[in-house]
Assembly symmetry: C2
Homo-oligomer: 378 residues x 2
């Protein structure tokens, strides 16, 4: 229970000035009293996801950041590359952190809030989770099963719901197999485990032989390495074998999205019995859900006219599903938290350590296996 | 009535060999007896549309074509740029011509076929309309109103249904205004007339001051010239004024599609009350329906994650509508054939003349106002 005299929390905030100066620091802010349907969560683990970096570093070059301030109150400074696009956040100290897990230490009067008291829960709020405490709505909380720790549940929301969201999108749009790029990521490995378990054909695109070996070792059937000269032929072959007509692309920039569409088209045309000047009539879809490559997307349009490309974001997609479906997906995550949905975290850091070099430079790389989790009590 | 002894028709056919040789010529083929629900159409006017050029010239450089053969049987020869993509049509003489109009001179036994005897009808078959005669299904025929000629009705199907299809797509996907590029084209001018008549806000993108003047002269409210230095600001302003969140792009290559999305996003963000790292939550859509620029599509992704880009083709879109809706659209076209849906044809050529220089070079330019219509009786 929080005392009346000490109702403050440290939180990581990020601020961009009109001149492009970026400052990331720790702010001490009051913890509000929870509303009737709200609870106060003591955050015990919060992962640093690529989506957090957008807000945290605002597109500043991580290699050019400077660490200063005091040991207890470190301050990270840098320059953003394109201030104009950030106009809407100029001068605001924005609290960062999309998800995490911890213990409910205070609850509002409503039964659904009271029921959570003392429970270990995971939550994705989309903001202010890089903090010691946060007030959250009871309905957002996913109660972890007995035996699951906050570290187990730190990443229980975003990656698991994203991976399951890919599969639900595939089904909703009438496809029976899917592809994923940057497939050796935490999310990618989770998707491999889900698809193996559920018997869904999955084509994995990676960029090194080491990443291919990791996925093959997990039992993945289709792994295509974009660094191989045979990549496009391999991808076409995998699409033809699986009937894949939807792909999720974490890269975004360069030729990948167009290559995915072109290889789907080539695989479909193998079965064509007559020439169609408009290409295969089967709809081919690619969703860009990340931006590992921030360069422009280049589409060499050799895939007919039955195609779509778009952005994909988990929260609005889930909102388009039946609420009961979302409840079932979340229940499955809790039940398979340490198996299908396990997220190995590479390094634990405190709130202050997350603002120091070289930790920042490391997690900003968003490289396979270099994931960090913030443990405020450290 | 066709005589029993002369049941042949000339038709324009296009053939690509595995070595990339293209040959376009006139073939003499038998006219089959119509089935019960079919009719024989004497084609009196058939326009040469950009979509016909895909099949006719197979991507060969129109400037490098050679004209030969005899005056009655001219032969056009050339080299296609990318033979590999055309494998499915190697060695086949493909009859060309998507749409046209003429008189029904013979009919099958079914009442719906008999009812068409002697009528002037327009039809889009998707093939073999560059001919003297063609057997077509009665259900495809749009009976022109008394007083409308075959020349009036030659382009009554593809452009009018495409323009109306844009508006139906806009409505179906929940938008209230739309944009179109290459807006001074026949199709673009038709869209201007429809939108003026129906009170739908339309943003027109053109690339010269002359084209802008044409549309302004027709009464278009929003015309943005992509050659102006203020183009992106003008487009953003027009999108903000009209609330446009869907665009149809005939260009395809280069930055246009991405610029449309970026300007929609900029217009939406003017009204944003807080910063969202994922961009505006309002879905922004661009459909590519042509390929005036065959270069790769370049997307500089500064438009958040709520966006879509895709190919758009009239026939499958119409098939997704209620049949009664399609009947109503076709009826409207017949009723407004010489007003809203008028297509000025620049030049009339015979079947043979269509295979001679410089006619081929002219219509292959697909330039505003350089449209040709084939009149087989010439």
């Amino acid at each position: 229970m929080l005392t009346a005299s000490d109702r403050t929390t440290l939180q990581i905030v990020s601020c961009v000035q009109p001149n492009g100066d970026l400052e990331v620091s720790l702010a001490s802010v009051p913890i509000p009293r929870p509303g009737p349907s709200e609870v106060v969560l003591r955050i015990e683990a919060a992962p640093i996801n690529p989506s957090d970096l957008i807000l945290l570093l605002a597109g500043a070059d991580a290699g050019q950041l400077a660490a200063g301030g005091s040991p207890e109150r470190p301050v990270l400074t840098g320059k953003v590359r394109s201030a104009a696009a950030l106009q809407a956040r100029f001068g605001q100290s924005i609290p960062v952190g999309n998800e995490g897990a911890g213990t409910v230490v205070e609850a509002g009067s409503a039964p659904e809030a009271q029921a959570l008291l003392g429970k270990t829960v995971a939550v994705a709020t989309g903001s202010a989770m890089f903090a010691e405490y946060r007030v959250v709505h009871a309905a957002l909380c996913l109660v972890l099963n007995p035996g699951s720790t906050a570290i187990d549940g730190a990443s229980a929301c975003i990656n698991p719901l994203t991976a399951l969201g890919f599969i639900e999108t595939m089904r909703k749009e009438g496809h029976t197999a899917l592809a994923n790029t940057a497939a050796a990521s935490n999310l990618g490995q989770m998707l491999v485990r889900i698809c193996l378990k559920d018997g869904i054909p999955l084509v994995n695109v990676v960029r090194t032989a080491e990443q291919a070996a990791i996925l093959k070792g997990m039992g993945a059937s289709y792994v295509c390495n974009s660094s191989e000269p045979s990549f496009l032929a391999d991808l076409t072959e995998a699409f033809a074998s699986t009937g894949t007509t939807i792909a999720f692309d974490a890269i975004g920039g360069g030729r990948m999205a167009g290559d995915l569409l072109a290889c789907m088209e080539a695989a479909l045309n193998r079965k064509a019995t007559s020439y169609s000047r408009y290409g295969s009539p089967t709809h081919k879809q690619v969703y860009i859900y990340g931006g590992l490559d921030t360069a422009p997307t280049q589409l060499v349009r050799t895939f007919g006219l039955a195609w779509g490309l778009g952005g994909w974001l988990m929260t609005p997609f889930l909102q388009s599903l039946e609420p009961a479906k979302v409840v079932a997906l979340r229940r499955r995550i809790a039940d398979e938290l340490t198996t299908t949905f396990a997220s190995p975290h590479a390094r634990q850091v405190s709130l202050a350590e997350a603002l120091r070099l070289p930790a920042v430079t490391e997690y900003a790389k968003r490289a396979t296996g270099s994931k960090y989790v913030i443990v405020p009590s450290r």
